[in-house]
């Protein structure tokens, strides 16, 4: 059974935050999902390789040729806030710690 503290830890890894009420709801739901997942323990997988993709290609190469890219103004079109051609973000260091 997953605990509320573990769920809070996973949330911090995932860069998510939840209200206390939501944290309880997610704990219950994750517990239920993990219960379902525990069925997998019934399957013997000794010496079975892991499948991570089904097309079985590796090291797909292509010629390393420079090609024209979109202009910077176009690339920055969806940036929430910018200064000139730079992406503007809040201070990395917390202002409240100043």
């Amino acid at each position: 059974m997953i605990s509320k503290d573990s769920v809070a830890h996973v949330a911090s890894l995932a860069k998510l935050q939840f209200s206390e009420a939501d944290l309880e709801k997610y704990t219950d739901q994750l517990a239920e999902i993990l219960d379902m997942v525990e069925q997998l323990e019934q399957v013997s997988t000794k010496d079975v390789p892991v499948t991570t993709q089904s097309i079985h290609l590796e090291n797909v190469m292509r010629p390393d040729v420079a090609k024209p890219a979109e202009p910077v103004t176009e690339l920055l079109k969806n940036v929430p806030t910018k200064k000139g051609t730079l992406i503007q973000v809040p201070a990395i260091i917390d202002k409240e710690d100043d």
Binding site: I2, S6, V7, V10, A11, L13, A14, K15, L16, Q17, F18, Y26, Q29, L30, E32, I33, M36, V37, E38, Q39, L40, E41, Q42, V43, T45, V48, P49, V50, T51, T52, Q53, S54, I55, L57, V60, R62, E70, E74, L75, K77, N78, V79, P80, T81, I87, V89, P90, A91, I92, I93, D94, K95, E96
Partner: protein, 484 residues
């Protein structure tokens, strides 16, 4: 335009003969959407001006006689990026995202002269089976407005089923094309993993996602796939194999075809009335000269848990890019960089997306990786081997697409595990990377049932051959949804 009575071939003939211009067809299609979509809510955005411009250009250049999509309006699922047309993946985090490039499939459609008429609704980031997880609207089943259209390509399926468009693109990670096609009584086609480029498909689960088609007719699906399939340098997981003409086997007899029917696909959890329709379909295929034999895919019951670990793990990684910095939603009044990340994501993602990010992050985290992610990857191997064993002896596997007909809006949305189990018959196919289709196979209580056809890797043509033969034996398309 009456899309209930018009195939791509018929549209193409009218356009080519000059009985219809692409601009007229676009105007009629837009008028149809205006009339129908207030009830069905399939579209997130209608690309009226863009579609008119594209149609004018196609008319000016002349309809391409060799290209059945030339001048034809097509809808596109809103997780496929379209240059200059806002693409949201039905997420608040991308509400204002205006892509600066087209997905490969969108480029290919445009090169074939197809018109992008609009973007269709989906479960946020394609995570869901009912389209109820859209941040923006609830799409209705074309047959009954109180029921879900399925998902995640629910908008594309409902738009086709309700007669708004002749064809639409969707994406299928665990059944997201086939299940809504089944729920809406149309044809849904998911190609082999690697057959269609994913470049420009907003990533959910990269080892499972595949773009495919939603149409009323089998041949229309083959014609759209002819356009979008093929190797793409920008997606290194695409297969460098020639693309056959997918219509080539349509019309050929299926005599001698060896078809397998897994007993697990008619077992526990499958509505007996749905199972009956599939048995009737099997009988019809036998009457046409195919053999249908019961087989076993013993690991079927483990597909759902394996899938939710794998898909959620990949999603948690793919969705790290949504950080509020370069594009997408950024939370207000944030004081430091950590705040930007955490608050933008927490306010921007909906509940199901967060649930999957949490499950995925947990499965990949230290101490749990072996028990969850690795175990799921091993079970995936066993599921793939099950299919390989059957395909040693058979050409095709059939079964129901879904365990039940479309359920009511709100019925399962509060219970994630029950919702996930709805995908038990479609998920194994994605884990193994196989091609599969859902075709109409009758009705239970007035709601459509889908027959699923699963092929060997890159044997799309076999699926089209059998699907078309089955379609020709039945007149399910003669029944038209009225909503209610």
């Amino acid at each position: 335009m009456d899309y209930f009575k018009t195939s791509l071939d018929q549209l193409h003939e009218q356009l080519r003969a000059g009985q219809l211009t692409s601009q007229q067809l676009v105007d009629e299609t837009l008028a149809g959407i205006d009339k129908i979509d207030p009830n069905v809510a399939a579209f997130l955005a209608v690309n009226a001006d863009g579609a008119k411009k594209q149609a004018a250009a196609v008319d000016a250049a002349g309809i391409d006689a060799d290209q059945p999509l030339s001048g034809v309006p097509i809808a596109i699922k809103d997780n496929i990026v379209t240059k200059g047309v806002v693409t949201t993946a039905a997420s608040k985090i991308l509400a204002n995202f205006n892509p600066i490039y087209n997905a490969t499939v969108v480029e290919k459609l445009a090169a074939a002269g197809a018109i992008n008429v609009g973007k269709t609704n989906l479960d946020e980031f394609a995570m869901g089976s009912s389209t109820e997880n859209s941040a923006f609207k609830t799409t209705k089943n074309a047959w009954d407005y109180t029921r879900v259209p399925g998902g995640s390509s629910g908008g594309s399926a409902a738009a086709v089923a309700a007669g708004e468009v002749v064809a639409a693109l969707g994406s299928d990670t665990g059944g997201s094309i086939r299940q809504p096609a089944a729920f809406n009584g149309i044809v849904g086609f998911k190609p082999t993993y690697g057959r269609v480029s994913r470049w420009g498909l907003i990533a959910f689960s990269s080892s499972l996602d595949q773009i495919g088609t939603l149409t009323r007719n089998v041949k229309d699906a083959a014609q759209v796939l002819n356009v979008i399939a093929g190797h793409d340098e920008r997606d290194s997981t695409t297969a460098d194999k020639p693309v056959p003409d997918y219509t080539e086997k349509i019309g050929q007899a299926i005599k001698g075809m060896k078809i397998a029917l897994p007993k697990e696909y008619l077992g526990k959890g499958v509505d007996p009335a749905v199972a009956d329709k599939i048995k009737t379909a099997a009988k019809q295929l036998e009457d046409m000269g195919a053999t249908v034999t019961e087989v076993s895919l013993p690991h079927t019951q483990y597909a759902v848990p394996a899938y939710y670990i794998i898909a959620s793990s990949e999603a948690s990684s793919n969705l790290q890019r949504f950080d509020g910095i370069r594009y997408g939603f950024r939370a207000k009044d944030v004081h430091n960089i950590e705040d930007v990340y955490v608050r933008s994501r927490s306010e921007g993602f909906g509940p199901e997306v967060k649930r999957r990010i949490m499950l995925g992050t947990f499965s990949l985290s230290a101490g749990f990786y072996d028990a969850y992610f690795k175990k799921a990857g091993q079970v995936r191997t066993l599921i793939t081997r099950d299919f390989e064993a059957v395909f040693n002896d058979y050409d095709l596997i059939i079964g129901p697409t879904t365990p039940t007909v479309a359920f009511k809006i709100g019925e399962k949305v509060t219970d994630p595990v029950t919702m996930y189990m709805n995908d038990i018959l479609t998920i194994p196919v994605n884990l193994a990377g196989l091609p599969a289709a859902s075709v109409p196979a009758g009705f239970v209580d007035g709601m459509p049932v889908g027959l699923q056809l699963i092929g060997k890797p890159f044997a799309e043509s076999t699926i089209f051959q059998v699907a078309a033969a089955f379609e020709a034996q039945n007149d399910y398309l003669a029944q038209i949804p009225g909503g209610k």
